[in-house]
């Protein structure tokens, strides 16, 4: 059994019953108590009435990845009872609504039961039907507070914050909390052997979801045109952008807006609008998930070939096709990298944490304009929709945008023989102009068809090759501009390498420690971008054996590494998790150590 500040608790609810805010309150309380915590929402692709879970890992050591094994299950959903009982760890606890007795078939001898009559407590104390249902959730939070030794002051403070402006609601919420607390105090020993203890480990941190952070990154990054089409799990990103933009980008006097959020008719249109806007000199982005990415292929190819900046945030979910819309995966990597027919390559960025969602989204606009090409921020459902403990978002006042090689009217005045696709600087990146800049100079005809350096249509073989080769040169330049990878672990004595990216971060960090505990010393590289920089190449050359951890079936990032860096595939070993749940350290350690044990050679 787990110990102080080291346990996993899972809430089994029915979706649409208002459990989300109570569960969040629970997690946030731990966070405010200074304890590292990582909540995961496991919800159905449905609006109301189906099982939904909220899993909270509490971990003094700061491991924020998911962990298998539930120490305490809070079950308020009869539909999922059987599964929920079964999922509790040997020796764990099962808190349930005992208003109706538990059927004996759900009794396990190896776990502890904590019956709390949630419904009847509510029935006795509230009259309104909706309130009865809602407050059930607060009752179990109250019960848990006692069982796990949560700080009631913190809880009360959070409730106060939550109902700011609706103060009438504070009192009944506190009442509900106390109902649960009192019941536990009366009926059970408390606290449990594993419970919370105040720490100072989250000081200066924030708890935020990646989509909100990315939205803020776009806001600070200067996005003004935001066409989009709703799709889980990217919707909340645009919602957050809209909300903050309404707050900070509207002229308070006139009510006129500094931004345009447009719900497009579909994802093709959303990407078309991004391209039109960025062609015309505004910063624009859209957010989508797998199906939308598939639909944007043609437009991405246009932006690549006509060299129009574009920013796309792909909040990945489990594919293929409609797949599991409410489960996480990193399975759009290959399509995003080589989207569209013909020879194409796109710049990708891989945030791992909310603060990186902020930073890399803001950076995406600079890169897109600097390189005049699409940049895709590869987030995922786990990162985007779950709350994560994160460094605060950071913006340096005075930071300026890199708008790339855009010619002003004055510069055009002085320029002779300008051509839209002339590689003046020999870095693969030509100079562009924005419509309306100058009455006589700088106009050109943008096209997705083959064109020469002056943007004229051509079917000339050599010209075509020249442009295509320059695009490769530009891609090489991109490799020097994208964010560098981060390195972790033991640089000196490492016997093998680990490569990973995105939300695998926390599990990988924990796995590194677990591996070194069993004397398997690794050095890890967290990729932040595609194409791969020199540092990435060097890392791959250093080890004979490198484990590439990914959350997809086909080892898509490994394909990119092999293909772009010409690495012998046998040196890159797949460590995959693709069941739609966030990857765990256990899985990583298990796969790596069993590979090592089944092979002999580690370093030749």
């Amino acid at each position: 059994m787990s110990g102080i500040n080291d346990f996993v608790i899972r809430f089994a609810n029915v979706n649409g019953t208002g459990s989300a805010s109570a569960n969040f309150l629970f997690a946030k309380t731990l966070f405010r108590m200074g304890i590292p915590v990582s909540p995961k929402n496991i919800f159905p692709s449905n609006i109301q009435g189906l099982p939904t879970w909220y899993e909270v890992r509490v971990c003094d050591k700061g491991y924020l990845g998911r962990r298998e094994g539930i120490d305490l299950m809070v079950c308020v959903n009869p539909q999922s009872l059987e599964k929920d009982v079964a999922s509790v760890k040997d020796g764990g606890y099962f808190l349930y609504d005992s208003t109706k007795p538990l059927h004996t078939e759900f009794l396990r001898s190896d776990i502890h039961y904590l019956p709390v009559p949630l419904m009847s407590l509510c029935n006795e104390n509230f009259t309104d039907a909706r309130q009865k249902q809602l407050f059930k959730n607060m009752v179990y939070v109250g019960a848990l507070a006692v069982l796990l030794n949560l700080d009631f002051e913190v809880i009360a403070q959070l409730v106060g914050e939550q109902f700011k402006g609706k103060e009438k609601l504070i009192q009944p919420n506190i009442l509900a909390l106390n109902l649960g607390a009192d019941y536990v105090r009366k009926h059970f020993d408390f606290p449990l052997s594993f419970h919370a203890e105040k720490r100072n480990l989250t000081h200066g941190k924030i708890m935020i979801d990646g989509n909100t952070a990315a939205a803020l990154g776009a806001l600070y990054g200067g996005a003004t045109v935001v066409p989009w089409y709703p799709i889980t799990p990217s919707t909340s990103l645009v919602d957050a952008f809209t909300e903050y933009a309404e707050q900070y980008r509207v002229d308070p006097e006139t009510g006129r807006k500094n931004f345009a959020v447009i719900q497009a008719e579909d994802e093709l249109a959303a990407m078309g609008m991004v391209i039109g806007a960025m062609w015309n000199g505004a910063r624009a982005f859209t957010a989508t998930s797998g199906p939308g990415l598939s639909l944007m292929n043609e437009f991405l190819g246009l932006a690549y070939f006509a060299e129009i900046p574009a920013v796309l945030i792909d909040v990945q979910r489990a594919g293929p096709s409609t797949g599991m819309p409410t489960r996480t995966q990193q399975s759009d990597v290959l399509l995003a990298a080589y989207a569209s027919h013909g020879d194409t390559k796109n710049v990708l960025l891989f945030p791992s944490t909310p603060d990186e969602c902020f930073e890399l989204t803001a950076t995406a606009f600079d890169l897109a304009e600097d390189l005049q090409t699409p940049v895709i921020v590869m987030s995922d459902l786990d990162l985007g929709m779950n709350d994560h403990i994160s460094e605060p978002l950071h913006w340096q006042n005075g930071r300026t945008y890199n708008r790339g090689k855009v010619l002003s009217a004055e510069e055009l005045e002085q320029t002779k023989g300008w051509g839209r696709y002339l590689d003046v600087d020999h870095d693969g990146v030509p100079y562009r102009t924005i419509p309306g800049t100058h009455p006589q100079k700088g106009s050109y005809f943008t096209r997705g068809s083959s064109h020469d350096e002056y943007s004229r249509y051509t079917e000339d073989a050599d010209t075509y090759v020249r442009i295509m080769d320059r695009l490769l040169l530009k891609f090489h330049k991109a490799a020097t501009l994208v964010p560098e990878p981060e390195f972790y672990g033991d640089d000196v004595s490492a016997e093998f390498g680990i490569i990973y990216f995105g939300t695998t971060h926390h599990a990988a960090m924990e796995a590194l420690d677990m591996l070194s505990a069993v004397d398997l010393t690794a050095y890890a590289m967290r990729l932040k971008a595609f194409p791969f920089s020199q540092k990435v190449r060097q890392f791959t050359e250093r080890f004979d054996k490198i484990y590439v951890i990914e959350q997809n079936r086909d080892a898509q990032m490994r394909t990119l590494l092999i293909n772009e860096l010409e690495i012998h595939p046998e040196r890159l070993i797949k460590v995959l998790n693709y069941d739609g749940t966030p990857i765990t350290a256990d899985l990583i350690v298990h796969k790596i150590s069993s590979d090592i044990h089944s092979s002999t050679l580690i370093r030749s």
Binding site: I208, T224, P227, K257, A260, A270, L302, R399
Partner: protein, 350 residues
């Protein structure tokens, strides 16, 4: 952006009020077939822009893919052009327009481009009241891919390849009116006198101005069984009204008899003057227009002229209350809420 007068023009070339000659509105040499209707429309665009005294660099011309969509390369060389992908010009135009509402947007498309693959975007550009002059060069076929029937090909017409079209046509004007387009006109590439003022009026209109221009494809759809041939259109053309476009501030003279003239003032102060109006024709009466279109369709007549206008239409940027400064001119100053605000936001997540 200040306006700079173009230099070194042949003194003999007539200039418009801004000092531009027609040459300044021309484009590259057309690669379309000799006699293609689309070329006439390009010429009409050149003339309309010249007469309207438009600064060419203040126009953005956008298109999809097709012979028709190639035309933006053949007019307004000093404007930025964007030949996007097949059927998706409306979305690209929407993005461009949102980025800078100070330019004039001219969208050019074909019947294949707009009525088939682009139908969804066409419908939604109208629904959003995109501020654009949207011209469909309608030849009832797919010119660039060698003459397949398009969705505007009339039922029963005989294609050059010999087969008879078995599907009903989509009437783009009827559709645009049903969807709430604010300005809907139909014309014929062979009728410059009608077409030029219509283009001028459309470009002066605030909102979605739709122009369906019948534009014969001489190579694939000008045969005798065709209902989009020069001959057929000339024979079946029912002009609903003569039309003049009177720019802002120009004196309004009364050349016509009171009862057959209607004047419609646009928001920028210019006028559309309709004369020789067909009996009872009122382009502000939606029901009447819809009925007339239905009847014309049944009797194989092609109504041309300004079919419908709604002067109360709000263009998209007003609907969404966009600021006056073009978004593409906003700098960090206007866009970044600042580190202080971010601290506050961080605090709300602490």
């Amino acid at each position: 952006m200040t306006y700079i007068r173009p230099a070194f023009h042949h003194p003999a070339l007539p200039q418009n009020e801004l000092g531009y000659t027609r040459k300044d509105y021309e484009g590259s040499i057309s690669t379309l077939c000799a006699g293609c209707g689309h070329d006439s429309i390009s010429a009409a665009i050149v003339e309309a822009c010249f007469e309207l005294n438009i600064e060419p660099h203040k126009v953005a011309k956008l298109s999809g893919i097709g012979c028709s969509s190639k035309t933006p390369a053949y007019f307004l060389n000093q404007s930025h052009g964007f030949n996007s992908v097949h059927g998706r010009m409306p979305s690209v135009a929407t993005g461009a327009y949102l980025a800078n509402t100070d330019l004039l947007y001219l969208g050019v498309s074909g019947d294949g481009d707009s009525a088939s693959i682009g139908m969804g975007q066409f419908v939604h550009a109208i629904r959003r009241s995109l501020n654009i002059t949207y011209i469909v060069m309608n030849n009832g076929c797919y010119g660039l891919t060698k003459g397949q029937d398009s969705a505007t090909a009339d039922y029963g017409y005989v294609a050059k390849a010999g087969h008879k079209n078995i599907y009903e046509a989509i009437d783009l004007c009827g559709l645009a009116i049903e969807l709430g387009a604010g300005f809907v006109a139909q014309s014929f590439s062979g009728d410059k006198k009608q077409l030029i003022p219509l283009i001028k009026a459309a470009m002066s209109y605030q909102g979605f101005a739709f122009l369906n221009v019948l534009s014969p494809c001489v190579t694939f759809n000008n045969n005798s069984g065709s209902t989009k041939s020069y001959d057929y259109i000339r024979e079946h053309n029912a002009v609903m009204s003569g039309m003049d476009f009177i720019p802002v501030k120009e004196e309004i003279t009364a050349d016509y008899q009171e009862d057959t003239v209607r004047e419609i003032e646009l928001h920028d102060g210019s006028y559309i003057r309709l004369h020789k109006l067909q009996q009872g024709w009122n382009p502000e009466d939606k029901y009447a227009v819809v009925n007339a279109l239905h009847k014309a369709r049944a009797s194989h007549e092609i109504l041309t002229g300004l079919l419908y206008i709604n002067n109360d239409q709000m263009p998209l940027h007003q609907i969404i209350r966009l600021t006056d400064t073009p978004l593409n001119k906003l700098t960090e100053q206007a866009l970044v809420p600042g580190a202080g605000i971010l601290d506050q936001i961080n605090a709300s997540f602490a």
